[in-house]
Every structure is written in structure tokens, then in C-alpha cells.
Amino acid sequence: MILTTLILGLVLGSTYALLALGLTLQYGIARIMNLAYGELTLVGAFVLVAVFQQLGLSPLIAMILIAPAGYALGWFLYQGMMRPLVKRSGARGRLEVDSILATFGLLFLIQGILLMLFGANFTSISYLDRGVNVLGVSVALNRLIAFGICVVAGGALVLALAKTRWGLIMRAVALTPGSAPLVGIDVNKVARQGFALGTALAVVAGASIAMYQTFSATDGVVFTMKALVIVIMGGVGNVKGALVAGIALGLLETFVATAIDPGLTLAATFAIFLVVLLWRPQGLFGAR
């Protein structure tokens, strides 16, 4: 019983962690609080389903195509929408409110387009839907694949940020965007990369969710909320924190669903979120 919760929670949590990584990159590096994040996730999910059903492409191959497409989408979104806002606002305060409201509009725009294209029905695909025995617990193979994708993508990102020169530049901009230009960093370019990379992660997370879960065009807000909860729990811009918090949230949700009441998982998410915001707004792992 406990082992089941643990394994299922880990699998769910890894998807959440990947989901949150993108948001934390966007907010940490590009300084854009993207409230349309969940909708971008859904775009990935719907594209995967469409490609799988219409073209018969294997989801794993589709994933390789979806990731760069997401990067391009994020690149254009930043260039077209966010950059003018960043330019307009000198100080931080204005950008925060503006970016919230603008991405809010984007949220409805994408949601509306998805509703027009795919309708409001619940969508799912059946792909590798057979159980695999993991330590005596039966886990669907598609979930395990999603878990693998999250581990690979998340792990690669953490390593790249920590070890490479590119990661160093990213972290420099996240830490002090004001002083980064002094050492010859093009903040605008880096912010654009961060935003695009975040979008790529969002669509990959969405595509991996689509492999094993039912979803609908109006679910975006839920994904955004969950990603936000994790980002704030882990500390804004803190990549490792987001990974840990994501897995923790997956475990918690699975626990609440099995031990208390499935109807309370969302309430539990929000409750935790409120508690963390009040008790440690700098995140569980952040320093004051």
C-alpha cells in the first residue's frame, strides 16, 4: 500500500517537476510570470495527440519534433509579446503587473484557439497501456516512459545549468540581470533563450502527460496552478528546488487521493500552496 503510493507518486511527481522546471526558467531568467504556461502545456499535449492519431507517428518520435517546435514558439512569443513590455518598463514593478495581464490574455487566446480546434471534450490516447511490474507494483508502461522522459530532460537541464558555460550565463542573468551586461552578457538574448527553453519544457511536459492522462482544453489553469505551487515551494528560479518540490507534490497528491479522498487533491494542492506562501514565501529551500 505504502509502496504503491510511493511509486505512483514518484511517477506523477516527475511529470510535475518537469512542468515546474519550465516555469521556473521563464520566471527566473526572463522575469516573465507566464500565466499562460498551462495552456502552452496543453498545446504540447494536443499536438502529440493530433500527430499520433492523424499521422500515426509514435509519441516518442513526435516528442523529438515537439520540443524544438516549442522552443520556436517560445522564441516568437518572447520576441513579439514580452520584449515590448520589457522595453517599456524600466523598473521591475511595472513589468510584473504588465506581464501578468498580458500572459493572462494569452491564456484565453490559446484556450479559445484550442477549444475551436479540438472542442471541449476530454481527450486521451491509448499508447502502451499495459502494466509493468515495478517492485511488486503494477505501473502502466506509458507512465514509466513519461517518467523516463522527465528524468532525462530534467537531469540534462540541471547538469547543463550547473556545469556548462551556457548554464553559467543563464544563472548570472537569473541572479543579477543588472550587472550581467557588465561582463558582456546580452541579457535580452539570454532572457529570450530562457523563455523559449521554458516553453519547450512546457510542451514536452504536456506531451508526456498526454501519453497517460485524460485532459481537456480547459485544463490549462490547473497545470499552471500546479506548476506555480511547485515553483514557489522550491523557490523561484531554483531548479533543484523545483525538482524536489515537484516530486513532493506528486507524492502528496497520490497520498491524499488514496488515503483520504480523491476529491480533495486539488484542495490539498491549494492548501499547501497557501501555507508555503505564508510561511516561507522564499520557498522551502531558499534563503531569506
Binding site: Y27, M33, M81, P84, L85, R88, G93, E96, V97, D98, I100, L101, A102, F104, G105, L106, L107, F108, L109, I110, Q111, G112, I113, L115, M116, V221, M225, L228, V229, I232, D261, G263, L264, L266, A267, F270, A271, F273, L274, L277, L278, P281
Partner: protein
């Protein structure tokens, strides 16, 4: 003096309006009055402080639920009192704990709050009372609802006008400009923000309670519909959230547009809403009123 007379005449004219319109027209009047009230009440707190609150529907829905739960046990006026009291208590609790959060944290918190309240009521209704929906059968006509909402809206705008001139309004403006400066000049940040937040929340709750008999059937998904929060924000911003008449000016046309869109293009409704949000942020960041003033100032310079 004219500043006082014109609004009063308009109010009297609006009060007699139900005599000249159809039932559908009256419905539109009620809706417009409701959104004017909501947007003005929202701006009462958020307009000057720049704390973007998405918790509007948390209070609005709570008000509607108060009416649904209590309308058979208590007389109408007592239910309204209860709703106001509950809204104030909720706002005080939330405000005390959250108003030190800034910027995006507050936005997300307020949004999470609305969802949390909705989830909890849904869970409570399903598991404890056993029914999800409730009916409101009240002997109250659409006209009564309209007059009450009109009175509430007028009271909100009057209250806003008074606050703008008072020390409280001054303090709110300073907080919106710079909290550190506000604290240094001796403004009690927590108290000022809390007073404005509670006042705004009481009005929102009352608006929910007054308009709820129109629904007849009430369930969490209906009265805690987050779209209400979003619409309120965009209406207030379009008109100009820090102006006295800004929210009202934004609410009336937008309400009519959205009403028309949702009957004629129910599918593409979110797209319009999204484009509108983006358009307001890019083209009219301070609202229509400020935009007009800017245009006038430019003309003056030219001539």
C-alpha cells in the same frame, strides 16, 4: 456642484429605467449594474495599490452561497447582514495573512484562494450535505434586485469618491507608488491595506448575495466561475482602475460586448477576451480615461 448633480440625475434616471425596458432589457441592466459594482469595488482596493486581486469571485460566490444557504432560515435583510459579515471576516483573515505578499505572489494567492473556496464548498456539499446544487426561491422581483444593485453600485462609487479625498486614499496612493516610502512616512501599511481590502470584499460579497436570486439554481461551478474575476479586472483596467468613474466606464460597454459575444459566438468568446486583455495592456496601459487625457494634452500642445 455640477460634479454632484449630474451623477445624481443619472442615478434617478437609471432608477426609473425599468419602466421603459423589456424583461430582457432589465436583465441587461442588472448585469451591467452588477459589473459596475464589482469593478468599482475591485478598484477600490486594487486601483491605487496595484495589488491585482483575482479573488473577486471568492467573495462574490460566498455571498451567493450565503443567500442560498440562509434564505429559508432568516429574513432577507438579515441574510444580507450575515453575508456582509462573513465577507468581512473572510477578507480580514485573508488580508491579515497575505497582504504582505507582493506582486505576483499576491496575484497567484488570490487566484488560489478562489479555487480553494470553490473546491472546499464542492467537497463539503458532496460529502456532508449530499447535494451539490441548491435552489433559491425568494419572493423578490427582478426590479427589486436591480434597485438594490443600483444602490450598492452608487454607494460603492460614492465611497470611492470619499476615499479618494480622505487620508486613507492618500495613503493608498503612496503605497501604490512605493511601499518603502509609505512605511517611512509613517503610514501603517497593514492597517491601510486591510481597511481597503475589507471594504472592497464586503461590497463584492453583498453583490453576490443580491444577485443570487437571479440564478435560482446555485452550485459552486456557477457562482465561483473564475471568469467573473477576470472580467472584473479587465473592465476596471480598461476604464482606468485609479479613476473614480474608470471602472464603471469600462464595465458597461464590456459587459454588453461580452453578453453579445457569448450569445452569438459562444465558441470564440475566450479568444476575444484574450485579445482584449492583450490590447488593453499594450495600447491603454492606464485605461481609457488616461488615454483620452493624454490625447487632449497632446492637442493642446499642438495648438
Amino acid at each position: 456642484m455640477t460634479k454632484l448633480i449630474i451623477p445624481l440625475l443619472a442615478l434617478v434616471a437609471l432608477a426609473f429605467a425599468p419602466n421603459f425596458v423589456s424583461a430582457y432589457g432589465l436583465g441587461l441592466l442588472i448585469g451591467a449594474a452588477t459589473y459596475v459594482t464589482l469593478a468599482s469595488a475591485w478598484a477600490l482596493f486594487s486601483g491605487h495599490t496595484h495589488y491585482v486581486s483575482l479573488a473577486t469571485v471568492a467573495f462574490y460566490g460566498t455571498g451567493a452561497y450565503c443567500m442560498a444557504v440562509l434564505n429559508e432560515a432568516l429574513p432577507y435583510w438579515a441574510v444580507l447582514l450575515c453575508a456582509g459579515g462573513i465577507g468581512a471576516t473572510m477578507a480580514a483573515l485573508v488580508g491579515l495573512s497575505t497582504l504582505r505578499l507582493q506582486g505576483v505572489y499576491f496575484v497567484i494567492f488570490s487566484f488560489g484562494l478562489a479555487e480553494l473556496v470553490r473546491q472546499l464548498i464542492t467537497w463539503y456539499e458532496v460529502n456532508v450535505t449530499g447535494t451539490l446544487g441548491r435552489y433559491i426561491f425568494l419572493d423578490i422581483s427582478a426590479r427589486d434586485i436591480y434597485w438594490q444593485m443600483l444602490a450598492l453600485g452608487a454607494a460603492t462609487i460614492a465611497l470611492t469618491a470619499w476615499i479618494h479625498r480622505s487620508r486613507l486614499g492618500m495613503a493608498l496612493r503612496v503605497i501604490g507608488d512605493d511601499e518603502a516610502v509609505a512605511a517611512h512616512s509613517g503610514i501603517n501599511l497593514a492597517r491601510v491595506k486591510l481597511i481597503a481590502f475589507v471594504l472592497s470584499a464586503v461590497i463584492l460579497t453583498l453583490a453576490g448575495a443580491i444577485t443570487s436570486p437571479r440564478y435560482v439554481y446555485v452550485e459552486p461551478a456557477i457562482v465561483f466561475n473564475p471568469t467573473v474575476s477576470f472580467l472584473t479586472v479587465i473592465m476596471a483596467l480598461l476604464g482606468g482602475a485609479n479613476r473614480l468613474w474608470g471602472p464603471a466606464l469600462g464595465a458597461v460597454p464590456l459587459f454588453l460586448v461580452f453578453e453579445w459575444l457569448s450569445t452569438n459566438f459562444p465558441d470564440s468568446y475566450p479568444i476575444f477576451m484574450g485579445l482584449l486583455f492583450i490590447g488593453v495592456v499594450f495600447l491603454l496601459p492606464d485605461g481609457i480615461l488616461a488615454g483620452i487625457e493624454k490625447l487632449r494634452a497632446r492637442r493642446k500642445v499642438q495648438s
